[in-house]
Amino acid sequence: MTQWGSPYKMSCHLYLVDPDTWETGSRVASVKSFSMSRSGTDQVPLLESCTFEMSNAEAAREGSRWYRMVAHVAQKNSVERVPIMTFLRSDESKDLKTTTVTKGSGYSTLKPADLVRITTGDYAPKGVDGPSFAKKLLADGGVLAPIEVVGSFKLSDYVVFDPGMTYLEAAWDVLDSGGWVMFIDPNGVITIKEKPKEHDLLLDRTNAKLIRNDVKESFDEISVCNRYIVPNGSDTVICVNDLEDSRMSVQNRGFMVDCVDTSPTPVDGESLDHYAMRMLKESSIVQHKYNYTRRFYPGILPFSLVKATVGSLGFVGDLRVLSQSVSFGSGGVKVSETAAYEEVTYDPWQLK
């Protein structure tokens, strides 16, 4: 096993992927450069994408197929093969006169389900197992990669899909209703599970050196709600953050910021009052974003939890990874990552 905190040497190679067995096939070529972006925000339902450069001669040998980027990591005269990303090779461009390099890009294994649209009026039934239903949507949408489900939750209400929505967007809607997410591992395997509550990386004194010395923090509080309104005819529910100990309460801020919810989705048996309080708690979270570069460390994906225990890094606590970009090239491996610490400013149950 490679010790990622210790020196190592790495080269990157492209392999074909057998679409039937999903096993790594024959080696295609070494790439000149490879970079990938991963994001867990709503705007990027595909979760990850990549760009790469290879020679024209190598690019011409294969067509649009499934590929796996594998790093050969050498340390102490042993070589370990570490998968980096599995992708569907897509659009390419090359200047036939002035260069010998083909630039290409790749989509994540979720891409097929983003190309097929659901039938008007389709919905996820109330009471079904949400993760399993999302898995079925992905499979029906044409996803070839293995899909694993860890755990379950029941849908508290019908989830009706917007007309024109893709199978992938529909699957995300089902998972969103339970606060669940998807992960894509470097082999392209999709895992459906809850957001991790245990950290995937502990930045203690030993691992602190994985982080470079350019940590930046940013946050935006102006849109954080301190009043949550659920219109319901004459019985409109209004929940106000008026807690003295909350720095985002109406009296402590001196002004009100409203969130209006015209389509409330309370869970089974939940009153509208309780629902409004719960939603105000979620809407009054201040997200402190940390942007930093670090050494390569596999297994850290969007939604992963990074726990920092060393004060010298500039932050201490649990960080949820929002996005990251990883580039492999002549400059070595560079990882730029954005993670967020979520400050809960309204929690009436804990404060009682």
Partner: protein, 480 residues
């Protein structure tokens, strides 16, 4: 029979029409029909274009099964936002209004646009009449302008036609500007232009002829155009020109000039049976000849010349004593089949297969060059058990011992007060220098506690070292 609408119905109808006209559905709205209400009070709607029912909420709109409704899908909830069936414009009210409009007090139908499945009228006076098909028993018209007329029998006083197609024409006298016919029986024909399927002619003289097959003892032709031709001998007088393709077994001539020659084989024989020259440079000196014998198969002389300029050379074997001082490869060079030697270069990287090992240059996570190797079986599979890497000495990463020592002497004075009990957060490289012969050993790590260093070690910090903030370049430091 005139339909009756009282004032209340008329107001209801007009207001209903206005509300329908004023209502603009949002993009996420669509029509549907309520199919049922289940035991939990959920309305089920068959949306337009959907093959199945969809659960819907209708808290603000009263509906019943069978109602035509407008639904909005938003935030994963389908909501009935309007009951179209309970609109003021009901089907029965609409029927009444239509009946009143058609057969009202005037008894006249006045409409800008009408679409009828069946229209019957005793008398019809139509300004413009357009029909995809009309069946008329008796048609009397002052003027008929038609693209085609098909008639079983027609009697006409005068027929004028630009083109006529007839199976039989019987005429006492015919004066024709152009005649095309399958068979002609005539004692004499005098025609300016004649077109015939078959003609057997003893003597033909024509200004212009277009013949599928001709059998003649002699033909005088000014211009001859033929798709195929069999000629015993062709003689072109003057500066004749042949265009298109000429197929011939043998061509004899004093001089032949062609823009392009495409041939399976070309043999050029001189007086002594030898090929003389092709594309000569320096014709007068005769130095730039390419010599072969008259039998191409037994070529022994090879190709001799001062320069061979070619964009591509394909050969099973190229025997070269000296290829070039510098070999430039634009993309890659491959020699032999799989298992042979394969050299490939992309950008500043080089990989090749030799001696059963695949070798490739690359850079490590710090951007420094090295070469990795992995054994390759005869079947082409890589064996990771036989693999490893070597450092490549290039760039400023590894320097010669003399350069290192010179650098060390410079930086030694700068860091003589370096705190020896601090840990370094950053990349650190060590160079162990043999003071006797100046040789050095190089290795690196991420973190080191300097107080554990032994004397005689050179330490190289990178520019990111937090303990070396003032030095923007690489710093080599002596600890001892």
């Amino acid at each position: 029979m005139a339909a009756e609408m009282n004032d209340f119905e008329l107001d209801e109808f007009v207001n209903g029409i206005r509300s329908l006209l004023d209502y603009e559905p949002a993009e996420n709205e669509m029509a549907g029909v309520v199919t049922k209400t289940d035991s939990n009070g959920v309305k089920w709607v068959r949306l337009a274009g959907s093959p199945a029912d969809t659960p819907a909420k209708s808290s603000a709109v009263t509906t019943k099964t069978g109602d035509l409704v407008q639904c909005r899908i938003e935030n994963n909830v389908c909501t009935i936002v309007r009951n179209l069936s309970s609109s003021s414009v009901t089907v029965s009210l609409l029927g009444k209004a239509m009946t009143a409009m058609v057969s009202g007090d005037t008894g006249k139908l006045s409409t800008e646009y009408g679409n009828f499945d069946d229209l019957k009228a005793l008398n019809a006076s139509i300004e413009n009449f357009s029909a995809s098909m009309a069946s008329v028993k008796y048609l009397k018209a002052n003027y008929i302008d038609a693209e085609a007329i098909k008639a079983t029998y027609m009697t006409a006083e005068t027929i004028r036609a630009n083109y006529m197609l007839a199976e039989t024409i019987e005429a006492t006298y015919a004066s024709l500007a152009y005649l095309q016919t399958y068979y002609i029986t005539a004692s004499q024909i005098a025609a300016q232009y004649l077109s015939a399927q078959t003609a057997n002619i003893q003597y033909l003289q024509a200004d212009f002829g277009n013949l599928n097959a001709a059998t003649a003892n002699m033909i005088k032709v000014r211009d001859l155009f033929a798709k195929t031709g069999l000629f015993e001998g062709v003689t072109v007088l003057g500066d004749g020109t042949l265009t298109g393709t000429l197929n011939a077994t043998l061509l004899n001539g004093d001089t032949a000039r062609f823009s392009n020659i495409y041939a399976d084989a070309i043999k050029i024989l001189g007086e002594d049976g030898l090929y003389r020259a092709l594309n000569l440079r320096g014709l007068d000196t005769g130095e730039q000849q390419i010599l072969i014998d008259e039998y191409g198969e037994s070529l022994e002389g090879g190709i001799h010349g001062s320069h061979i300029l070619a964009e591509s050379i394909t050969a099973d074997k190229i025997n070269v004593t000296q290829l070039a001082t510098v070999l430039l490869l634009a993309q890659y060079m491959q020699v032999g089949a799989t298992g042979g030697v394969h050299i490939e270069s992309v950008g500043n990287r080089l990989s090749f297969l030799i001696g059963g090992y695949s070798l490739s240059t690359a850079v490590d996570d710090q951007g420094n060059p090295y070469m990795s190797y992995v054994a390759v079986t005869p079947s082409g599979n890589e064996n990771p058990q036989q693999s490893g890497w070597y450092e490549l000495e290039s760039g400023e990463y590894v320097r010669s011992a003399d350069t290192i020592v010179d650098s060390l002497k410079t930086y030694y004075r700068l860091v003589s007060t370096f705190p020896s009990d601090k840990a370094v957060n950053g990349e650190v490289a060590f160079i162990s220098v043999n003071e006797l012969d100046g040789s050095s050993v190089f290795y690196m790590t991420n973190e080191i506690v300097l107080k554990n260093l032994r004397f005689g070690k050179w330490v190289w910090f990178d520019r990111n070292s937090v303990l070396n903030p003032t030095n923007t370049n690489m710093a080599l430091k002596w600890v001892g």
